[in-house]
Structure formats: structure tokens, C-alpha cells
Symmetry: C2
Subunit: 377 residues, 2 copies
């Protein structure tokens, strides 16, 4: 265990990198996928089960936790790790993105965002200083600056104006973060689809100085090819010695493409949300367990997977419990999908270390494509 938050780059393969984020709560091997534990739980999973999938870090949502049960309450109860029984590192977002997507009656000013809770309508306020205070109260290991997340699409003028506000908030957030030994503060690069704004944002954040750099404002509807283009013009401006985090991404092929472009960390609700909807990611592509073709299938979901859903149950059983809306369907398919994502990340790390990440990526994409075609029924 490290006493400090540090990033050790252990291998590169083209633009792709593999390394270790050292934290006092444990190491995170990169490229890393962070399961989303929105409301102090990775939905349908016990913490030990999340750990067993290979996850080294999870994500918590500041917006949800500030509304319920409240940051001060979690602090009184000993912090988020103790509260939810996750003893590994936790990254928290700043709440900014979810204020924009979930809260009601939002008003953005230079000082922050006034909004009303989507739970009970109560008035709330989030400023850069309050966002950092909440994350400190939660005991977050990696804390994100508050930024404004502009809607997509937006004009260049809108993005430029929004970016200017986000950069002022980034500076205030970093100052509010202060000094927290063993914990990290990450900046977030904005700038929409405009290369010069992405570069300006990156350089501005580097001037402030952060422990890691996130790429924000993507996976909001721009499509994979645009997202990859933005990464191509953004990542080269980020320092090699700091972890790079692509927020809210994504599908397995999004992740593979972003790793090839030098991203180290990811989070997404897709494996957990899909699991609750009867969708499974497998080495042969995405399956809908609700589909009648599984009704008599005594074979495993994915013969190469070691999760309980694949090791112990048949596709016929999974089909049955999905159709019957049984909770065990959400439990098993979430467990599987998180295992699949962690296995994918381990595969990417090994391939980078061995210098074969492009071949690995091609093999993945081919196998997913094959099943996607054959399961079009």
C-alpha cells in the first residue's frame, strides 16, 4: 500500500498504456473500469461480489449521495467506504453532470448551480467549493472538479463560454480540495468537438496542476467516431505521467478504442443497467436473455466466463428468471456483465504489456461483430 496517490506507468504499446494507480486503499491496475455505485451500492451486488469480479475501484455519485442520505450524515457514520462496506478506492464525480440530467429547475450562475432535488423537490445549491466539500465528507479517494456540462449539440460560442466557466470552477475546485494526503483531485477537459478548445482546456488544467485528467463532455450523443476524433486531438495534450479518465464511457468497443488512444480509466452504468434489463455482454457479442431462443438452451451464457451466472446456471434458467422478473436475474446478469468488463480490462492490460494491443482489439471487435450479426433475430 502506498501512503500517497501516485501513478506508475508500466508499459506502452502505441498510444495505449498500462500502469498502476497507487493509493492508500489499494492499487488500481490500468486500463481500469470502475463499476458505478450511484447511491452507495453497485446495484444488485454485494461489495464482496463486486470485488470478486476484479474491480479495484468503484465510482460514487455526489449528486445522489448529497440528496440522500446526505454528505454530512455519511461523514458522521464514518465515511462512504465504511457506510457501503467498500474498502478499496472510490472515485466520486462532482455532481455537475447529474444536476444537468436529473435535477429540476436548474439555474447556473458564476457561483454555482441552484436546482431542485428530483427526489422531493427540495431546493439545493452546488458550487465548486460545496462539490469538493461533499466529496471530502464522503472520504472520496479521487475527487472531481465541478464543471458545467453543456448540452449536445452546442455552438462553438456556447462551448467556449461554458468552457471558460468550467475552467474558473476548476481553479476554485482545486483550491477547495486543498491538501488531502493520499487523495487525488482530477481536472476535467471540456471543449466539445472543437480541437483548439480541447487543447486550451487541457493546457489550462495543466497550469492549475491536477493528479489526473478526465475527458468530459463525450458519450452525450456525438457518436463513436466523433468521440474518437476528440480523443485523438485531446489526449496528446495530457501529461504522460498522470492517469487519464474518460467519463461515462462506455460500450466494450468504445473502451477498446479509447484505450488504443491512451485512456486509462473508465466508468459506465452500461454493464449494471444492462444486467437489470436482461442484456448480457459476452465474448461472442451482446445477448438479450429475454429472447425465446434461449428457452431450452442448457448451455452456459459464456463458456469462458468464471462468474456464478456462467459457472452455475444455464441460459434456459437465465431466460426464465429474466422473463419472470426475478431479482436473481438482475443479480446474476449484473455479476456477469461486471466480470465481463473486468476480464476485458485485464485482457487489454496484458495485451499492452505484451505489445499486442492492436491484435487484441481486432480480435475483440471481430468476435463481437460476428454475434451481433447472427443474433439479429
Amino acid at each position: 500500500m502506498s501512503e500517497q496517490f501516485t501513478f506508475e506507468l508500466t508499459g506502452v504499446d502505441g498510444a495505449a498504456r498500462t500502469g498502476i494507480v497507487h493509493t492508500p486503499r489499494g492499487d488500481i491496475r490500468t486500463p481500469a473500469f470502475m463499476p458505478v455505485g450511484t447511491a452507495a451500492t453497485v446495484k444488485a451486488m454485494l461489495p464482496e461480489s463486486v470485488r470478486s469480479t476484479g474491480a479495484g475501484i468503484i465510482l460514487g455519485n455526489t449528486y445522489h449521495l448529497m440528496l440522500r442520505p446526505g454528505a454530512e450524515r455519511i461523514a458522521r457514520l464514518g465515511g462512504l467506504h465504511k457506510f457501503m462496506r467498500w474498502d478499496g478506492p472510490i472515485l466520486t464525480d462532482s455532481g455537475g453532470f447529474q444536476v444537468m440530467s436529473l435535477a429540476k429547475l436548474r439555474e447556473i450562475t458564476e457561483d454555482g448551480v441552484r436546482f431542485h432535488s428530483h427526489i422531493d423537490g427540495s431546493p439545493e445549491f452546488l458550487s465548486p467549493e460545496r462539490a469538493m466539500e461533499i466529496q471530502r465528507l464522503l472520504g472520496s479517494d479521487i475527487q472531481m472538479v465541478l464543471d458545467e456540462c453543456p448540452a449536445f449539440p452546442a455552438t462553438e460560442a456556447q462551448i467556449e463560454s461554458s468552457l471558460a466557466l468550467s475552467m474558473r470552477w476548476a481553479k476554485q475546485s482545486k483550491a477547495a480540495f486543498g491538501v488531502q494526503p493520499g487523495r487525488a483531485c482530477f481536472g476535467i477537459v471540456q471543449g466539445g468537438v472543437y480541437p483548439h478548445l480541447r487543447r486550451r482546456s487541457a493546457e489550462h488544467l495543466i497550469d492549475i496542476g491536477f493528479d489526473g485528467y478526465a475527458v468530459g463532455g463525450l458519450a452525450v450523443g456525438e457518436g463513436q467516431s466523433v468521440m474518437f476524433e476528440v480523443l485523438d486531438v485531446t489526449v496528446p495534450h495530457l501529461p504522460a505521467g498522470r492517469p487519464r479518465y474518460l467519463m461515462g464511457v462506455g460500450k466494450p468497443d468504445d473502451i477498446v478504442g479509447a484505450v488504443l488512444r491512451g485512456i486509462d480509466m473508465f466508468d459506465c452504468v452500461l454493464p449494471t443497467r444492462s444486467g437489470r434489463n436482461g442484456q448480457a455482454f459476452t465474448r461472442a457479442g451482446t445477448l438479450n436473455l429475454r429472447n425465446a431462443r434461449h428457452v431450452d438452451d442448457s448451455g452456459p451464457l459464456d463458456p469462458h466466463c468464471s462468474c456464478p451466472a456462467c459457472r452455475e446456471f444455464s441460459r434456459a434458467y437465465l431466460h426464465h428468471v429474466v422473463k419472470a422478473n426475478e431479482i436473481i436475474a438482475a443479480m446474476l446478469l449484473t455479476w456477469h456483465n461486471l466480470t465481463y468488463y473486468q476480464d476485458l480490462m485485464a485482457g487489454l492490460r496484458n495485451a499492452i504489456a505484451a505489445g499486442g494491443v492492436r491484435d487484441f482489439a481486432q480480435t475483440c471487435l471481430r468476435s463481437w461483430g460476428a454475434e451481433t450479426a447472427s443474433s439479429a433475430n
Copy 2:
């Protein structure tokens, strides 16, 4: 492991008994509580977690399984044990009770029950022979005869007429069960609240000859004192050398009272259903975790319980996940409630073996009563 289904009485204390049901799939220590696994899953639990609570046997519902995924399908897939990954004994009901409570457009004739599925409205038919065939296809270790379950209240004439049909069906069911080495067929005593009809039913079933005897038609609204009165006039007519099963019961104090009257086996949805509704059974009574008094409580749900909910989480956390409708709330509280029920059964078994079941019962009832009073807010 026994090759045959046998019942070994190992201790008596007044009318209460303790013993072992030996089956090829494992022993069942009695008094025993059977968690309900309606649709091939004990809701919100993995099979290994059910086992870890101390459960030696679970119950499956013929009605649900015949409709979805279908008995013939489960048989093709290797039987219910393999399908749902429960390798211990399984008791299945006959489907009769749930046809009456769930299905639509029911018509009862001498031959059986015509009804329409509550899932898709499809026409279905259940006869004594078909009920036993389904249970055989499922691979059930303890199979129940088909009976008619009259509504409560009913007149003596209605009960007498219904009982006559149930006794004819019991004979047909036993004949249809045939010879299945290692598996058992249980008869069901009916007769409403009428002592002479209960006695007539018991004697009739004993004439047919069953491996165990259930008491049916209770816990349908008659109240605990009437239920206990019926047990007082029924159980003495059942053979001492066969297990006695009180169907669909019940609350912890129902179980304690029934054990004092000589019942060996129980099933009820209460611990699992309550767990999904934020209710917890504890040594100090029943708690509603939704109640705001738990919001800042860092203590465990039940300090004497060894389940994950009590060992790893606080009441404040459980309150939070119940309020947020998180799946982990159902998982943890179901696990707790099933552990609580199994601990209660173990306590009863130990108390009977030690000759102190009346003191044990008094202690239980006092502690539940105390909390029920103090938690009236």
C-alpha cells in the same frame, strides 16, 4: 445420506418433537422452516446464500412452475434441482392452493380444476394425476396431494362436501404418485374449524397411508387462536412416526405455538416477502427499516445475528437502501429474515432436545412483545 425417505424422532418435550427427515438429498432437522422458492428461485437470494442461512430444504410452487417455464421443460433440462442449482431436498405443493388464489376463471369438477393462467390467460387443467405428474417431472423430493382449498369462512356443509372431494383426490394422488424410491408423498388434512371433520380427514388419510401429513386450510384468516385450537384437535390424530407439516405458516409466534403443538415442518413467504418490503424480524421484534428513527443508527440490525446484513452493515445503511428502493435492500433483508427464521428453528430444536421448549417459547414471546410495544411509532 439415506437411500430412502425416513423420519427419525430424536426427542420430545410435551407435544413438541425434534427429529431428522432423512432423504437421499440430505437430512432435514425438524422442526424445520422451508424458504419459499416459488418460481425456481428464493427471491433475491442465490442458492448458496439460502444454504448458508441453515436451510435444509426449500419449497417450490407447482402452479407457477407448470405455467412458466413448464414441468416438461424443467424435466428436459435435468429437473428442478439442477435448473435452480439447489442440491438439497425440495418440497413442492400440488398447485391447488395457488390455483384458487391466483388463477382466473376457475371451475372445479370431480376430475380436477380448469383455470386460466394469470400470466397469459392460457387455459390449463390440474387433476390429481396431473399434479403428481408435474411434481414427478420436477423431481420433487416431497410431493403433496392435490386438494381443494375452500374459502374462509365456510359453512360446515361446504367444508364437509369439499373435504369429501379432497379425500377422493388424496387417494387418486397417492395412486398417481406410485413408487418413487427416496421420494415422499404427503397427504393434507382438511376439515376447516370442525374437530370431527379434521379427525375424519386424518383417519381417512392414514387409511390411504402417506409418508407425512400436512395440515391445510389454516392461516387463511381464521386468526391465531382458532388455528391453535384446530391444531389441538388435529395433531393428536396424526401418527407420531411421520413428519407433520403446517402449510403456509407463518409469523414467528405462529411457528412457536405450532411447534408446541407437535408440528415439524413449516413454509411461508413472510420472511422473503417482508425482506423485500423493508421489514426485518429480530430477536427484539419486527422492525420497519423504512422508519426514520434508523436514519442515523450506526448499530447493527440484530447484534446476535451472523448474516451479512447484521455483520457488515448499519441500520442507517439498511434504512438508506430501503428508502432508495435499491435491490441490495431486498437481498440483505431477505438474507437476514431467512437467517432469523433458521436460527429460531435451531433454537426450538435445541430447546426441545434439552426439555426446555416452553421456557424458550416464553422468552421468545416476551422479547418480541417488548419491541413491538416500543416500536409503535
